[in-house]
Amino acid sequence: MIPGRERARESGKKAGRGRERESGQAIAFLLCRSRDAKTLLTSTSDLFVFVFAFFLISLSLQDRATAHGTTRRTNKNEENNNKLTLFKNSFQQTQNKTKNQTGIARAVGPHPPAAFFGQQAVFRVSLASCLFFSGMAIATSQARFKGDKADKTVQHGAWGVKLAAWVLLTLGCFFLPVGMMTPYGWLSRLGSALFLCVQILMLLDFVCELNDSFVDAGEEDERFLWGLLGLSGACYAAAIAFVSVSFYFFNPGTDPQASGKSIDSGSQDCSFNVAFIVAAPLGGLAVSALALSGIARRGSLFPSAALTLYACYCTYSALVSEPHDYRCNALGRRIDAASATGMFLAVAATLCSVVYSALRVGSNSSLLGLGPEADEGTSSSDGATPLISRRRGGGGARRYGHENVDDDAHLTSAGLDGVSPAGARALPGDENENSLSATAVTSSSSLPAVPISYSYPFFHAVFALASMHFAMLFSGYGSGAAERALVDVGWPSVGVKLACAWVSLAVYAWTLVAPALFPDRVF
């Protein structure tokens, strides 16, 4: 009997509280605990491998998508698109010829395209924001307890100084030479890839946690297992919905309204879209089959379904990001035809999602084992620190005399500066973060020091990465080919989003097969 089925039988017994029920076994076969699967990204080197792979894949897909888009554009679009490219080429040639740059005007004439200035401004604001948050990350790196100088002054105080620093940095970056923005552009590409990879890891962490909590609850009440099965089915249904919508809008042969005057193609010309629309659910199904096979020791259906949904959503989002004048993007033309309010809302939604994801990722400092307790010797001796699931219980709070503190709670802080249970017990009823810090200082002799509830440096580092990410969003990932009135639209965005879809599936597949491939490794 293969291990998976054996395990399923064991889980089936648990699910029915020892009752040998066929339904419990069947569900448990699909819904095993995935807890161990989360710990498979076991070292920081894995993270860098994934980031690098993501970077290369996204660049490759960007090139493919750009090549695909440019070869199928109308002459007018090609003319508009090539304008900036010609400008950039001539600028680079001048850079190569003359060591001392003396100005854009001398390089390409007195009238460079407006998109160039927009991109330069975006890079400078992004650089200022990145420097600001990097500085904050360094300044708060020594914060360990609420009431520390780094906590009280740097993190929670001196807002006037911070505002002044932000303003000065933003203004100062506009005085930097143009040549400095090119390396920052490449740095931003890497930072953006890292930001997206961290988001993928966070998603994987979340779905595995949800799966485990449902399976744990299912040991007491089987209805949770049925609920989890229903949730998995809902994810697959939503994935099918995204595929259907993608086929309808991004394969004009199936869209009767897409046969407008600018469209002279059938479905065969949209093979790029069709290939990725079909490939995403197939990849999801492959990962699901892998999770349920004997190779994956701790595979489960729900994470597979969630990752399938995510891959299909990313593919849909990538196709939405295709240039709106692209003939296979029927949805883009509809958005263009809609009011300016709709476009504004689309841009605002993109920006809000960046802010929200930065806040969530930055607050979840336990994700990469960078929580406040990370420096307390809880990492393994060989440096192989689990990236996704550092098992809570490192005992960070216990060292400070809080034996009764639930370690999980302060490590998984995803709210807004929620006071850790330690803090809540030290000062019951005090919800104000600053007063908590102040009291911890003033009465330090009577109260034990309260550890900080989230990692300040990690929080600021995530925002520094998010600053690089929005520079890429606004600049078409450094290509300058982004549409002026829209954000995150263009072939480079298409490539990055497709890379997100496939890297997330690849990371999940890796968590499934790694124990079988590396049996000697401690997961």
Binding site: A121, V125, A128, S129, P177, D417, N432, E433, F463, A466
Partner: protein, 70 residues
């Protein structure tokens, strides 16, 4: 004859600007006192909005800055 209305308008404008500044400052202090994270999100959002605005209309501003554009 027109001096008084103009002065009144100017005063009203100054008062409105002062009130706006005071309100913004109070709001910022209130947010910062409630949650440092929200305040930092505010900084980030400001950068984001500024970048968005400048992306659309930075040319007149950037051209006149003493970097290498002029």
């Amino acid at each position: 004859m027109f001096i008084l209305p103009a002065a009144a308008t100017s005063c009203a404008a100054s008062l409105a600007a002062s009130c706006a500044c005071w309100s913004a400052g109070a709001l910022g202090r209130s947010i910062a006192s409630r949650s440092a994270r929200l305040a930092f999100v505010g900084f980030f959002s400001l950068s984001l909005l500024l970048a968005w605005v400048l992306r659309l209309g930075a040319e007149p501003l950037v051209k006149h800055l003493p970097c290498e554009f002029a």
